[in-house]
Protein backbone atom coordinates (compact mmCIF):
# COMPACT_ATOMS: atom_id res chain seq x y z
CA UNK A 1 0.00 0.00 0.00
CA UNK A 2 2.89 2.37 0.79
CA UNK A 3 4.25 1.67 -2.69
CA UNK A 4 0.89 2.52 -4.22
CA UNK A 5 0.75 5.81 -2.30
CA UNK A 6 4.37 6.58 -3.19
CA UNK A 7 3.74 6.15 -6.93
CA UNK A 8 0.52 8.14 -6.64
CA UNK A 9 2.35 11.00 -4.90
CA UNK A 10 5.30 10.93 -7.29
CA UNK A 11 3.15 10.98 -10.44
CA UNK A 12 0.84 13.65 -9.03
CA UNK A 13 3.81 15.87 -8.21
CA UNK A 14 5.29 15.29 -11.66
CA UNK A 15 1.98 16.09 -13.37
CA UNK A 16 1.32 19.22 -11.29
CA UNK A 17 4.85 20.64 -11.59
CA UNK A 18 4.99 19.94 -15.30
CA UNK A 19 1.46 21.26 -15.79
CA UNK A 20 1.72 20.98 -19.55
CA UNK A 21 -0.57 18.01 -20.00
CA UNK A 22 -3.49 19.45 -18.07
CA UNK A 23 -3.21 22.81 -19.83
CA UNK A 24 -3.03 21.19 -23.26
CA UNK A 25 -6.09 19.05 -22.57
CA UNK A 26 -8.12 22.01 -21.32
CA UNK A 27 -7.02 24.19 -24.23
CA UNK A 28 -7.89 21.50 -26.74
CA UNK A 29 -11.30 21.05 -25.08
CA UNK A 30 -12.02 24.78 -25.36
CA UNK A 31 -10.94 24.93 -29.00
CA UNK A 32 -12.90 21.88 -30.17
CA UNK A 33 -16.07 23.12 -28.44
CA UNK A 34 -15.75 26.61 -29.89
CA UNK A 35 -15.11 25.27 -33.40
CA UNK A 36 -18.46 23.49 -33.28
CA UNK A 37 -20.75 26.56 -33.68
CA UNK A 38 -18.48 27.69 -36.54
CA UNK A 39 -19.10 24.36 -38.26
CA UNK A 40 -22.83 23.86 -37.65
CA UNK A 41 -24.00 27.47 -37.45
CA UNK A 42 -24.78 29.76 -34.52
CA UNK A 43 -28.47 28.86 -34.12
CA UNK A 44 -28.87 28.82 -30.30
CA UNK A 45 -31.78 26.37 -30.27
CA UNK A 46 -29.89 23.79 -32.28
CA UNK A 47 -26.69 24.32 -30.27
CA UNK A 48 -28.63 23.73 -27.08
CA UNK A 49 -29.97 20.47 -28.53
CA UNK A 50 -26.55 19.07 -29.50
CA UNK A 51 -24.60 20.62 -26.60
CA UNK A 52 -24.40 17.47 -24.42
CA UNK A 53 -23.13 15.36 -27.33
CA UNK A 54 -20.55 17.93 -28.38
CA UNK A 55 -19.27 18.33 -24.82
CA UNK A 56 -18.91 14.56 -24.43
CA UNK A 57 -17.15 13.97 -27.75
CA UNK A 58 -14.76 16.87 -27.16
CA UNK A 59 -14.07 15.51 -23.66
CA UNK A 60 -13.23 12.06 -25.09
CA UNK A 61 -10.83 13.55 -27.63
CA UNK A 62 -9.14 15.82 -25.07
CA UNK A 63 -8.64 12.93 -22.64
CA UNK A 64 -7.27 10.84 -25.49
CA UNK A 65 -4.47 13.38 -26.10
CA UNK A 66 -2.79 12.69 -22.78
CA UNK A 67 -3.35 8.91 -22.60
CA UNK A 68 0.06 8.19 -24.11
CA UNK A 69 1.73 9.97 -21.18
CA UNK A 70 0.47 7.43 -18.63
CA UNK A 71 3.47 5.17 -19.21
CA UNK A 72 5.49 6.72 -22.03
CA UNK A 73 7.90 9.04 -20.17
CA UNK A 74 8.58 6.42 -17.49
CA UNK A 75 9.15 3.79 -20.16
CA UNK A 76 11.56 5.97 -22.10
CA UNK A 77 13.82 6.98 -19.20
CA UNK A 78 13.80 3.46 -17.75
CA UNK A 79 12.03 4.22 -14.47
CA UNK A 80 9.19 1.87 -15.45
CA UNK A 81 11.65 -1.04 -15.42
CA UNK A 82 12.78 -0.07 -11.92
CA UNK A 83 9.22 0.38 -10.66
CA UNK A 84 8.29 -3.00 -12.15
CA UNK A 85 11.21 -4.62 -10.35
CA UNK A 86 10.52 -3.19 -6.90
CA UNK A 87 8.11 -5.92 -5.78
CA UNK A 88 4.84 -3.99 -6.00
CA UNK A 89 2.30 -5.89 -8.15
CA UNK A 90 2.23 -4.33 -11.61
CA UNK A 91 -1.59 -4.15 -11.40
CA UNK A 92 -1.29 -1.67 -8.50
CA UNK A 93 1.29 0.38 -10.40
CA UNK A 94 -1.12 0.63 -13.33
CA UNK A 95 -4.01 1.48 -11.00
CA UNK A 96 -2.00 4.29 -9.39
CA UNK A 97 -0.98 5.71 -12.75
CA UNK A 98 -4.53 5.51 -14.15
CA UNK A 99 -5.84 7.19 -11.01
CA UNK A 100 -3.35 10.03 -11.49
CA UNK A 101 -4.53 10.39 -15.09
CA UNK A 102 -8.12 10.68 -13.86
CA UNK A 103 -7.17 13.20 -11.14
CA UNK A 104 -5.13 15.40 -13.45
CA UNK A 105 -7.15 15.09 -16.69
CA UNK A 106 -10.60 13.62 -16.01
CA UNK A 107 -11.58 15.89 -13.13
CA UNK A 108 -10.38 19.19 -14.69
CA UNK A 109 -12.14 18.36 -17.98
CA UNK A 110 -15.37 17.42 -16.22
CA UNK A 111 -15.28 20.62 -14.17
CA UNK A 112 -14.60 22.71 -17.28
CA UNK A 113 -17.61 21.24 -19.10
CA UNK A 114 -20.34 23.48 -17.58
CA UNK A 115 -18.32 26.62 -18.41
CA UNK A 116 -17.93 25.47 -22.02
CA UNK A 117 -21.62 24.54 -21.93
CA UNK A 118 -22.37 28.27 -21.71
CA UNK A 119 -20.85 28.68 -25.17
CA UNK A 120 -23.31 26.11 -26.52
CA UNK A 121 -26.40 27.41 -24.72
CA UNK A 122 -26.53 24.24 -22.60
CA UNK A 123 -29.60 24.16 -20.32
CA UNK A 124 -28.28 25.29 -16.91
CA UNK A 125 -30.78 23.18 -14.94
CA UNK A 126 -29.03 19.99 -16.07
CA UNK A 127 -25.53 21.23 -15.22
CA UNK A 128 -25.12 19.22 -11.97
CA UNK A 129 -26.06 16.10 -13.87
CA UNK A 130 -23.65 16.89 -16.69
CA UNK A 131 -20.75 17.24 -14.24
CA UNK A 132 -21.77 14.11 -12.33
CA UNK A 133 -21.93 11.89 -15.43
CA UNK A 134 -18.61 13.25 -16.65
CA UNK A 135 -16.88 12.77 -13.28
CA UNK A 136 -18.03 9.15 -13.26
CA UNK A 137 -17.48 8.53 -16.98
CA UNK A 138 -13.92 9.85 -17.03
CA UNK A 139 -12.94 7.06 -14.60
CA UNK A 140 -13.68 4.54 -17.35
CA UNK A 141 -11.87 6.75 -19.87
CA UNK A 142 -8.67 6.78 -17.78
CA UNK A 143 -8.67 3.11 -16.75
CA UNK A 144 -9.61 1.68 -20.18
CA UNK A 145 -7.22 4.15 -21.80
CA UNK A 146 -4.39 2.72 -19.69
CA UNK A 147 -4.83 -0.57 -21.57
CA UNK A 148 -4.27 1.10 -24.92
CA UNK A 149 -1.36 3.12 -23.52
CA UNK A 150 0.31 -0.06 -22.24
CA UNK A 151 -0.29 -1.98 -25.47
CA UNK A 152 1.26 0.69 -27.69
CA UNK A 153 4.44 1.37 -25.68
CA UNK A 154 6.71 -0.17 -28.31
CA UNK A 155 4.56 0.64 -31.31
CA UNK A 156 5.54 3.02 -34.06
CA UNK A 157 3.27 6.11 -34.43
CA UNK A 158 1.38 5.18 -31.27
CA UNK A 159 -0.73 8.37 -31.13
CA UNK A 160 -3.28 7.50 -33.81
CA UNK A 161 -3.13 3.83 -32.86
CA UNK A 162 -4.35 4.59 -29.32
CA UNK A 163 -7.38 6.36 -30.76
CA UNK A 164 -8.27 3.52 -33.14
CA UNK A 165 -7.99 0.94 -30.37
CA UNK A 166 -9.63 2.74 -27.50
CA UNK A 167 -12.52 4.75 -28.99
CA UNK A 168 -14.68 1.67 -29.72
CA UNK A 169 -14.18 0.61 -26.09
CA UNK A 170 -15.68 3.93 -24.93
CA UNK A 171 -19.03 3.32 -26.66
CA UNK A 172 -20.97 2.13 -23.57
CA UNK A 173 -19.60 5.02 -21.48
CA UNK A 174 -20.57 7.55 -24.13
CA UNK A 175 -24.06 6.11 -24.67
CA UNK A 176 -25.04 5.98 -20.99
CA UNK A 177 -23.46 9.36 -20.28
CA UNK A 178 -25.47 10.99 -23.07
CA UNK A 179 -28.66 9.06 -22.25
CA UNK A 180 -28.57 10.17 -18.61
CA UNK A 181 -28.17 13.83 -19.59
CA UNK A 182 -30.81 13.79 -22.31
CA UNK A 183 -33.36 12.18 -19.97
CA UNK A 184 -32.49 14.78 -17.32
CA UNK A 185 -33.11 17.52 -19.91
CA UNK A 186 -36.50 16.15 -21.05
CA UNK A 187 -38.30 15.45 -17.73
CA UNK A 188 -40.53 12.37 -18.25
CA UNK A 189 -38.52 9.38 -17.06
CA UNK A 190 -35.72 9.10 -14.53
CA UNK A 191 -32.05 9.57 -15.52
CA UNK A 192 -30.87 7.39 -12.61
CA UNK A 193 -30.93 3.97 -14.36
CA UNK A 194 -28.56 5.26 -17.08
CA UNK A 195 -26.41 6.95 -14.47
CA UNK A 196 -26.15 3.73 -12.46
CA UNK A 197 -25.26 1.73 -15.58
CA UNK A 198 -22.58 4.32 -16.32
CA UNK A 199 -21.22 3.91 -12.79
CA UNK A 200 -21.24 0.12 -13.16
CA UNK A 201 -19.19 0.37 -16.36
CA UNK A 202 -16.71 2.70 -14.68
CA UNK A 203 -16.31 0.32 -11.73
CA UNK A 204 -15.88 -2.65 -14.06
CA UNK A 205 -13.17 -0.81 -15.98
CA UNK A 206 -11.33 -0.07 -12.71
CA UNK A 207 -10.94 -3.85 -12.44
CA UNK A 208 -10.39 -4.69 -16.11
CA UNK A 209 -7.98 -1.86 -16.93
CA UNK A 210 -5.17 -2.63 -14.45
CA UNK A 211 -5.39 -6.40 -15.10
CA UNK A 212 -5.08 -6.08 -18.89
CA UNK A 213 -2.58 -3.22 -18.86
CA UNK A 214 -0.32 -5.02 -16.35
CA UNK A 215 -0.40 -8.14 -18.54
CA UNK A 216 0.64 -5.99 -21.50
CA UNK A 217 3.44 -4.30 -19.52
CA UNK A 218 4.87 -7.67 -18.40
CA UNK A 219 5.69 -8.54 -22.00
CA UNK A 220 7.53 -5.26 -22.52
CA UNK A 221 9.55 -4.41 -19.40
CA UNK A 222 12.53 -6.36 -18.11
Amino acid sequence: MTGFVAILGRDLRLALRDGGAMGTALGFYLIVVSMMPLAVGPDLKMLSRIAAGVLWIALLLSALLSLGRIFETDFEDGSLDIIAGCGLPLELVVAAKSLVHWLTTGIPLALAAPILGLLLNFDLSATPFLVATMLVGTVAISFLGAIAAALTLRARKSGVLVAVMVLPLYVPTLIYGITAISIALTPPGSPWPSFLLLSAISLASVVLGPLAAAAALRYQVQ
Binding site: L167, P168, L169, V171, L197
Partner: protein, 252 residues
Protein backbone atom coordinates in the same frame (compact mmCIF):
# COMPACT_ATOMS: atom_id res chain seq x y z
CA UNK B 1 0.74 -29.09 -41.82
CA UNK B 2 -0.04 -32.78 -42.41
CA UNK B 3 -3.58 -32.21 -41.13
CA UNK B 4 -4.17 -29.13 -43.22
CA UNK B 5 -2.77 -30.77 -46.37
CA UNK B 6 -5.79 -33.08 -46.37
CA UNK B 7 -8.30 -30.85 -44.56
CA UNK B 8 -7.80 -27.72 -46.65
CA UNK B 9 -8.79 -29.15 -50.09
CA UNK B 10 -11.61 -31.18 -48.52
CA UNK B 11 -13.03 -28.10 -46.81
CA UNK B 12 -12.65 -26.02 -49.98
CA UNK B 13 -14.52 -28.54 -52.12
CA UNK B 14 -17.21 -28.93 -49.45
CA UNK B 15 -17.60 -25.16 -49.18
CA UNK B 16 -17.91 -24.83 -52.96
CA UNK B 17 -20.53 -27.59 -53.20
CA UNK B 18 -22.61 -26.36 -50.25
CA UNK B 19 -22.45 -22.75 -51.48
CA UNK B 20 -23.47 -23.84 -55.00
CA UNK B 21 -26.50 -25.68 -53.58
CA UNK B 22 -27.20 -22.72 -51.27
CA UNK B 23 -27.13 -20.17 -54.08
CA UNK B 24 -29.29 -22.40 -56.29
CA UNK B 25 -31.86 -22.67 -53.49
CA UNK B 26 -31.63 -18.96 -52.78
CA UNK B 27 -32.03 -17.79 -56.37
CA UNK B 28 -34.35 -20.37 -57.94
CA UNK B 29 -36.24 -22.18 -55.20
CA UNK B 30 -36.91 -19.78 -52.32
CA UNK B 31 -39.96 -17.56 -52.83
CA UNK B 32 -39.95 -13.79 -53.21
CA UNK B 33 -41.13 -11.80 -50.26
CA UNK B 34 -44.61 -10.34 -50.82
CA UNK B 35 -43.38 -6.96 -49.60
CA UNK B 36 -39.66 -6.90 -50.37
CA UNK B 37 -39.66 -8.72 -53.74
CA UNK B 38 -36.27 -9.95 -54.97
CA UNK B 39 -34.29 -7.83 -52.51
CA UNK B 40 -35.05 -10.34 -49.77
CA UNK B 41 -32.38 -12.52 -51.39
CA UNK B 42 -29.66 -10.19 -50.11
CA UNK B 43 -30.43 -11.90 -46.82
CA UNK B 44 -28.72 -15.10 -47.98
CA UNK B 45 -25.39 -13.30 -47.96
CA UNK B 46 -26.13 -10.75 -45.23
CA UNK B 47 -27.16 -13.10 -42.43
CA UNK B 48 -24.26 -15.60 -42.86
CA UNK B 49 -21.78 -12.69 -43.03
CA UNK B 50 -23.15 -11.17 -39.85
CA UNK B 51 -22.98 -14.56 -38.15
CA UNK B 52 -19.37 -15.09 -39.28
CA UNK B 53 -18.44 -11.57 -38.19
CA UNK B 54 -19.37 -12.51 -34.63
CA UNK B 55 -18.10 -16.08 -34.78
CA UNK B 56 -14.82 -14.81 -36.21
CA UNK B 57 -14.24 -12.53 -33.25
CA UNK B 58 -15.10 -15.34 -30.84
CA UNK B 59 -12.65 -17.58 -32.68
CA UNK B 60 -9.90 -14.95 -32.42
CA UNK B 61 -10.58 -14.55 -28.71
CA UNK B 62 -10.38 -18.33 -28.26
CA UNK B 63 -7.07 -18.48 -30.14
CA UNK B 64 -5.76 -15.54 -28.09
CA UNK B 65 -6.73 -17.32 -24.89
CA UNK B 66 -4.86 -20.38 -26.16
CA UNK B 67 -1.79 -18.28 -26.84
CA UNK B 68 -1.71 -16.47 -23.49
CA UNK B 69 -2.65 -19.41 -21.26
CA UNK B 70 -1.22 -22.49 -23.01
CA UNK B 71 1.50 -20.61 -24.90
CA UNK B 72 0.92 -22.67 -28.02
CA UNK B 73 2.69 -21.03 -30.99
CA UNK B 74 0.04 -22.26 -33.42
CA UNK B 75 -2.59 -20.25 -31.51
CA UNK B 76 -0.85 -17.03 -32.55
CA UNK B 77 -0.83 -18.13 -36.19
CA UNK B 78 -4.53 -18.99 -35.90
CA UNK B 79 -5.42 -15.62 -34.32
CA UNK B 80 -3.38 -13.71 -36.89
CA UNK B 81 -4.95 -15.57 -39.82
CA UNK B 82 -8.52 -15.16 -38.57
CA UNK B 83 -8.46 -11.35 -38.14
CA UNK B 84 -8.53 -10.24 -41.82
CA UNK B 85 -11.08 -12.92 -42.72
CA UNK B 86 -13.38 -11.92 -39.86
CA UNK B 87 -12.95 -8.26 -40.77
CA UNK B 88 -13.83 -9.05 -44.40
CA UNK B 89 -17.07 -10.78 -43.37
CA UNK B 90 -17.93 -7.89 -41.04
CA UNK B 91 -17.40 -5.50 -43.94
CA UNK B 92 -19.55 -7.73 -46.17
CA UNK B 93 -22.32 -7.71 -43.54
CA UNK B 94 -22.20 -3.90 -43.42
CA UNK B 95 -22.20 -3.50 -47.22
CA UNK B 96 -25.01 -5.99 -47.87
CA UNK B 97 -26.96 -4.49 -44.96
CA UNK B 98 -26.68 -1.03 -46.42
CA UNK B 99 -27.59 -2.25 -49.94
CA UNK B 100 -30.61 -3.96 -48.44
CA UNK B 101 -31.44 -0.84 -46.46
CA UNK B 102 -31.73 1.33 -49.57
CA UNK B 103 -34.94 -0.30 -50.93
CA UNK B 104 -36.29 -1.09 -47.44
CA UNK B 105 -35.61 2.05 -45.42
CA UNK B 106 -35.06 4.42 -48.36
CA UNK B 107 -31.48 5.22 -47.42
CA UNK B 108 -28.13 3.43 -47.47
CA UNK B 109 -27.33 4.01 -43.85
CA UNK B 110 -29.48 4.46 -40.80
CA UNK B 111 -28.17 4.62 -37.26
CA UNK B 112 -30.03 1.51 -36.38
CA UNK B 113 -28.89 -0.29 -33.22
CA UNK B 114 -27.76 -3.54 -34.81
CA UNK B 115 -26.03 -1.88 -37.77
CA UNK B 116 -24.21 0.34 -35.29
CA UNK B 117 -23.01 -2.52 -33.13
CA UNK B 118 -21.69 -4.37 -36.22
CA UNK B 119 -19.90 -1.17 -37.26
CA UNK B 120 -18.23 -1.00 -33.84
CA UNK B 121 -17.27 -4.68 -34.16
CA UNK B 122 -15.60 -3.71 -37.45
CA UNK B 123 -13.65 -1.00 -35.59
CA UNK B 124 -12.48 -3.59 -33.06
CA UNK B 125 -11.15 -5.71 -35.94
CA UNK B 126 -9.35 -2.65 -37.34
CA UNK B 127 -7.77 -2.06 -33.92
CA UNK B 128 -6.42 -5.62 -33.86
CA UNK B 129 -4.90 -5.25 -37.33
CA UNK B 130 -3.44 -1.82 -36.57
CA UNK B 131 -1.83 -2.97 -33.31
CA UNK B 132 -0.25 -6.05 -34.88
CA UNK B 133 1.17 -4.15 -37.83
CA UNK B 134 2.67 -1.43 -35.60
CA UNK B 135 5.38 -3.63 -34.09
CA UNK B 136 8.46 -5.24 -35.61
CA UNK B 137 8.87 -7.99 -33.03
CA UNK B 138 6.37 -10.66 -34.06
CA UNK B 139 6.28 -12.54 -30.76
CA UNK B 140 5.50 -9.44 -28.66
CA UNK B 141 3.04 -8.20 -31.29
CA UNK B 142 1.18 -11.52 -31.13
CA UNK B 143 0.89 -11.48 -27.34
CA UNK B 144 -0.18 -7.83 -27.14
CA UNK B 145 -2.78 -8.33 -29.88
CA UNK B 146 -4.08 -11.34 -27.94
CA UNK B 147 -4.56 -9.12 -24.86
CA UNK B 148 -6.46 -6.57 -26.94
CA UNK B 149 -8.66 -9.33 -28.40
CA UNK B 150 -9.53 -10.59 -24.91
CA UNK B 151 -10.25 -7.06 -23.65
CA UNK B 152 -12.50 -6.62 -26.70
CA UNK B 153 -14.39 -9.82 -25.99
CA UNK B 154 -15.00 -8.69 -22.38
CA UNK B 155 -16.27 -5.27 -23.48
CA UNK B 156 -18.24 -6.50 -26.51
CA UNK B 157 -21.31 -7.58 -24.45
CA UNK B 158 -21.37 -4.13 -22.80
CA UNK B 159 -21.21 -2.48 -26.22
CA UNK B 160 -23.95 -4.76 -27.56
CA UNK B 161 -26.22 -4.15 -24.57
CA UNK B 162 -25.63 -0.39 -24.55
CA UNK B 163 -26.40 -0.12 -28.26
CA UNK B 164 -29.08 -2.75 -28.70
CA UNK B 165 -30.67 -2.88 -25.24
CA UNK B 166 -31.42 -5.95 -23.16
CA UNK B 167 -34.66 -7.44 -21.86
CA UNK B 168 -34.83 -10.37 -19.43
CA UNK B 169 -38.43 -10.46 -18.18
CA UNK B 170 -38.02 -13.09 -15.43
CA UNK B 171 -35.20 -11.08 -13.83
CA UNK B 172 -37.04 -7.81 -14.29
CA UNK B 173 -34.20 -6.40 -16.40
CA UNK B 174 -35.20 -4.01 -19.14
CA UNK B 175 -32.51 -1.82 -20.67
CA UNK B 176 -33.85 0.17 -23.62
CA UNK B 177 -32.03 0.16 -26.93
CA UNK B 178 -30.09 3.18 -28.08
CA UNK B 179 -32.15 3.29 -31.29
CA UNK B 180 -33.79 0.59 -33.37
CA UNK B 181 -35.29 0.00 -36.84
CA UNK B 182 -33.74 -3.38 -37.63
CA UNK B 183 -35.90 -6.41 -36.96
CA UNK B 184 -34.71 -8.51 -34.03
CA UNK B 185 -32.98 -11.78 -34.74
CA UNK B 186 -35.63 -14.21 -35.97
CA UNK B 187 -33.55 -17.38 -36.38
CA UNK B 188 -32.01 -17.63 -32.92
CA UNK B 189 -34.86 -17.09 -30.51
CA UNK B 190 -36.67 -18.93 -27.77
CA UNK B 191 -39.63 -20.97 -29.03
CA UNK B 192 -38.07 -21.88 -32.39
CA UNK B 193 -37.34 -19.84 -35.52
CA UNK B 194 -40.01 -17.47 -36.81
CA UNK B 195 -39.19 -17.91 -40.49
CA UNK B 196 -41.05 -20.12 -42.94
CA UNK B 197 -39.06 -23.30 -43.87
CA UNK B 198 -38.99 -22.31 -47.58
CA UNK B 199 -36.70 -19.43 -46.61
CA UNK B 200 -35.09 -20.92 -43.51
CA UNK B 201 -33.60 -23.98 -45.25
CA UNK B 202 -31.75 -22.06 -48.02
CA UNK B 203 -30.57 -19.63 -45.31
CA UNK B 204 -29.14 -22.42 -43.16
CA UNK B 205 -27.50 -24.08 -46.18
CA UNK B 206 -25.86 -20.77 -47.10
CA UNK B 207 -24.77 -20.19 -43.49
CA UNK B 208 -23.12 -23.61 -43.47
CA UNK B 209 -21.47 -22.93 -46.84
CA UNK B 210 -20.04 -19.59 -45.73
CA UNK B 211 -18.83 -21.13 -42.46
CA UNK B 212 -17.00 -23.86 -44.40
CA UNK B 213 -15.55 -21.14 -46.63
CA UNK B 214 -14.36 -19.28 -43.52
CA UNK B 215 -12.49 -22.33 -42.22
CA UNK B 216 -11.06 -23.23 -45.64
CA UNK B 217 -9.66 -19.69 -46.00
CA UNK B 218 -8.48 -19.74 -42.41
CA UNK B 219 -6.52 -22.98 -42.92
CA UNK B 220 -5.02 -21.67 -46.16
CA UNK B 221 -4.02 -18.44 -44.44
CA UNK B 222 -2.48 -20.35 -41.52
CA UNK B 223 -0.45 -22.49 -43.95
CA UNK B 224 0.80 -19.36 -45.68
CA UNK B 225 1.79 -17.81 -42.36
CA UNK B 226 3.68 -20.94 -41.24
CA UNK B 227 5.51 -21.12 -44.57
CA UNK B 228 6.35 -17.41 -44.33
CA UNK B 229 7.83 -17.93 -40.86
CA UNK B 230 9.85 -20.92 -42.08
CA UNK B 231 11.24 -18.94 -44.99
CA UNK B 232 12.20 -16.17 -42.58
CA UNK B 233 13.91 -18.62 -40.21
CA UNK B 234 15.79 -20.22 -43.14
CA UNK B 235 16.92 -16.82 -44.40
CA UNK B 236 18.17 -15.89 -40.93
CA UNK B 237 20.07 -19.19 -40.66
CA UNK B 238 21.56 -18.63 -44.12
CA UNK B 239 22.72 -15.13 -43.18
CA UNK B 240 24.31 -16.41 -39.97
CA UNK B 241 26.11 -19.20 -41.84
CA UNK B 242 27.42 -16.72 -44.39
CA UNK B 243 28.65 -14.42 -41.62
CA UNK B 244 30.43 -17.32 -39.87
CA UNK B 245 32.00 -18.37 -43.16
CA UNK B 246 33.22 -14.84 -43.81
CA UNK B 247 34.73 -14.62 -40.34
CA UNK B 248 36.55 -17.91 -40.96
CA UNK B 249 38.06 -16.63 -44.20
CA UNK B 250 39.16 -13.41 -42.52
CA UNK B 251 40.77 -15.40 -39.71
CA UNK B 252 42.83 -17.39 -42.22
Amino acid sequence: MAFSRIAMPTLSVLAAVVLAVGFYLAFFVSPEDYQQGQTVKIMYVHVPSAWLAMMGYGFIALSSFGLLVFRHPLADVSAKAAVPIGAAFTFLALVTGSLWGKPMWGTYWVWDARLTSVLILFFLYLGLMALRSSMDDEVTAGKLTAILALVGVVILPFIKISVEGLTIPWLGIEIPSWNTLHQPSSVLRAGGPKIHPSILIPLLVNALGFTLLFFAMHLKSMRNEILRRRVRALTMAEVQRAQAFEAEILAE
